[in-house]
Amino acid sequence: MSVNGRGETRAVPPGAALPVEVTRLCKSYGRAKAIDDVSLSIRPGEFVTLLGPSGSGKTTLLMTIAGFARPDSGSIRIGDSEIVRMPPHLRNIGVVFQNYALFPHMTVAGNIAYPLKLRRLPRPEVARWVAAALDLAQLPGLGERRIDEISGGQRQRVALARALVFEPRILLMDEPLSALDKHLREEMQIEIRRLHRQLGTTTIAVTHDQREAITMSDRVAILHQGRIMQFDTPRAIYERPASRFVAEFIGESCFLPVEVSMGKPCYGGRPLKLATGPIVGGRGLLLLRPERLCLVGDGDAGAEVNCFHGRIAQAVFQGESVLLTVTLDSGDRLRARLPNRRLANGVCLDEGAAISLGLHAEDAILLPGEAP
């Protein structure tokens, strides 16, 4: 939907949102490669999050799209226009900064009206658009307030309203929620999703918080040292991570060394039942998510379940789950997260007790790499 001058919201026809095409983008600062040959294809209307640790290049990438950092080479297209050499004020992109960057010398309405005034909209028009934007951002009546008079959450909304009021081609957000406390953050995550569904604008957000990325996005791009490790839906990244880095970045993970013996991947001498295909080379890592491990009784293991035997090193009650640290017979350590209700079955979870853990083949992912 978009907000028109009469203050009504209309649904954006499917063709109106624009795709973003980043091709072979490179940027170095001296010898350090901040963006290392990145290519990204974002569909119209999609909400994409760039996720990664600090120094991964995600903010730099966002800034090159916004026009505040100049790449050394590459192409950035929004729809049909090549924008990589365009100055920022001509790109028609909405940007929300981490600290909101609201103009303290203007009121809330003044901030939101600013892009409209720059586009020489007549005064009555400006007033209508601003009122509609305030409504859309759920800030009714706050127009005449000064920036230092409103709360952090309200400032967030003003920043969003200001970035959206001029119907930008795409929206960029740099760590939009990092300045908010936990409760507000969850509230705003829902807010942003709502706005996105209403307006349909292609959105690219940057964050280092994996939960935020998973909650808000259609697809997530994981960045590491200036490269894209994986670009897929949150579910796909979680369940089929492409590399050890990605697996460690999203969700909890444990790894066990795997060797290829007689053509089959094995752990502890026994062949594994896996979900993913064979790997190249003689070594690999088995990814286990602690919450996918289950307790296995003596005769319980099905044909599709991998079994691991060992002793409990530590059991920590964590509310809805119990976190077990298990030392396997082979010497490796595993973490397992069991739902609380197991305790009632009289299963012994004392330290030192023997235990068998099972991992269904569907949850067993083989990754390239060496064990630590």
């Binding site: 940007v95 900064f97 960057a101």
Partner: protein
């Protein structure tokens, strides 16, 4: 900031500091009562009360002319040095030149080079260009001295300015100049104003260069005061000094009061 050492253990420090502060402030203050002295002699405490030295100042054409010259030169210096210094501060702050240090150094060099050197150098140059004893000549030299002040003050203001704001303004559709005028300048205006004031005072107070390249009709106030102090001390100087003290004391005091009140709000 609460210090963990109790105040009474530091009384000696406070007393010493008070003495030193007194040493800094008091000497200048004796000039004020002296300017009202009725007698010719330079005594303190002064005898009698009279406005005669103020009348002498305002009544003597040479003093008046000199004051006018100084004011003209200082205002022109302020008007030139402020945009030059502000532009340089912006360029240095946002630019990524390899030789940024050299650029900065060349702009503040006039602070570090002894004034007497600048004076004779300028004298040589002006002798060749025929700029000795002219207002443009004085203004150019004073701008050279004033730009570093503006540069340093505005740079400090830019450092504490949130650069994201200018970026946001540009993302919203403002070109670089527009963003600067509409968003940056309204927020760093205090630094720019402070720089302008410093430029004015630097030009107004300048003595050495003025004594070398101005004289006679084009003599500045400082020039005349210096001659008077060196040759025969004229009590009119006390009146002029009092006025100068007022002019240079009131702006910083006002500035402090205003910023203190704003901080309290």
């Amino acid at each position: 900031m609460e210090h963990y050492i109790p105040h009474r253990r530091r009384l000696w420090l406070y007393a010493l500091s008070a003495l030193i502060l007194g040493f800094l402030i008091l000497p200048t203050l004796i000039v004020i009562p002296m300017s009202f002295s009725a007698s010719d002699a330079l005594q303190f405490p002064p005898r009698g009360f009279s406005w005669r030295w103020y009348e002498a100042y305002l009544g003597t054409p040479q003093w008046r002319d000199a004051t006018l010259v100084s004011l003209k030169v200082s205002v022109l210096t302020m008007l030139l040095a402020t945009p030059i210094g502000t532009a340089a501060a912006y360029g240095l702050h946002f630019g990524r030149f390899r030789f940024a240090l050299a650029v900065y150094g060349s702009l503040v060099a006039s602070l570090m080079v002894p004034v007497i050197l600048i004076a004779i150098g300028v004298f040589f140059l002006y002798a060749k260009l025929g700029l000795v004893n002219t207002i443009p000549g004085l203004v150019l030299a004073d701008v050279l001295l004033a730009v570093p002040f503006v540069l340093i003050v505005v740079t400090a203001g830019l450092k504490s300015f949130d650069a994201n704001q200018e970026m946001v303004a540009r993302s919203l559709g403002a070109g670089r100049l527009r963003a600067f005028l509409g968003v940056t300048l309204p927020q760093i205006w205090r630094s720019v104003l402070a720089g302008a004031l410093f430029a004015f005072i630097a030009a107004f107070d300048e003595v050495v260069i003025a004594t070398l390249i101005s004289g006679g009709e084009m003599a500045t106030l400082t020039n005349r005061m210096f001659s008077s102090l060196r040759d025969e001390v004229d009590p009119t100087i006390a009146a002029i000094s009092t006025l100068l003290i007022a002019v240079t004391t009131i702006p910083p005091l006002l500035g402090h009061l205003i910023s203190a009140r704003r901080g309290r709000r």
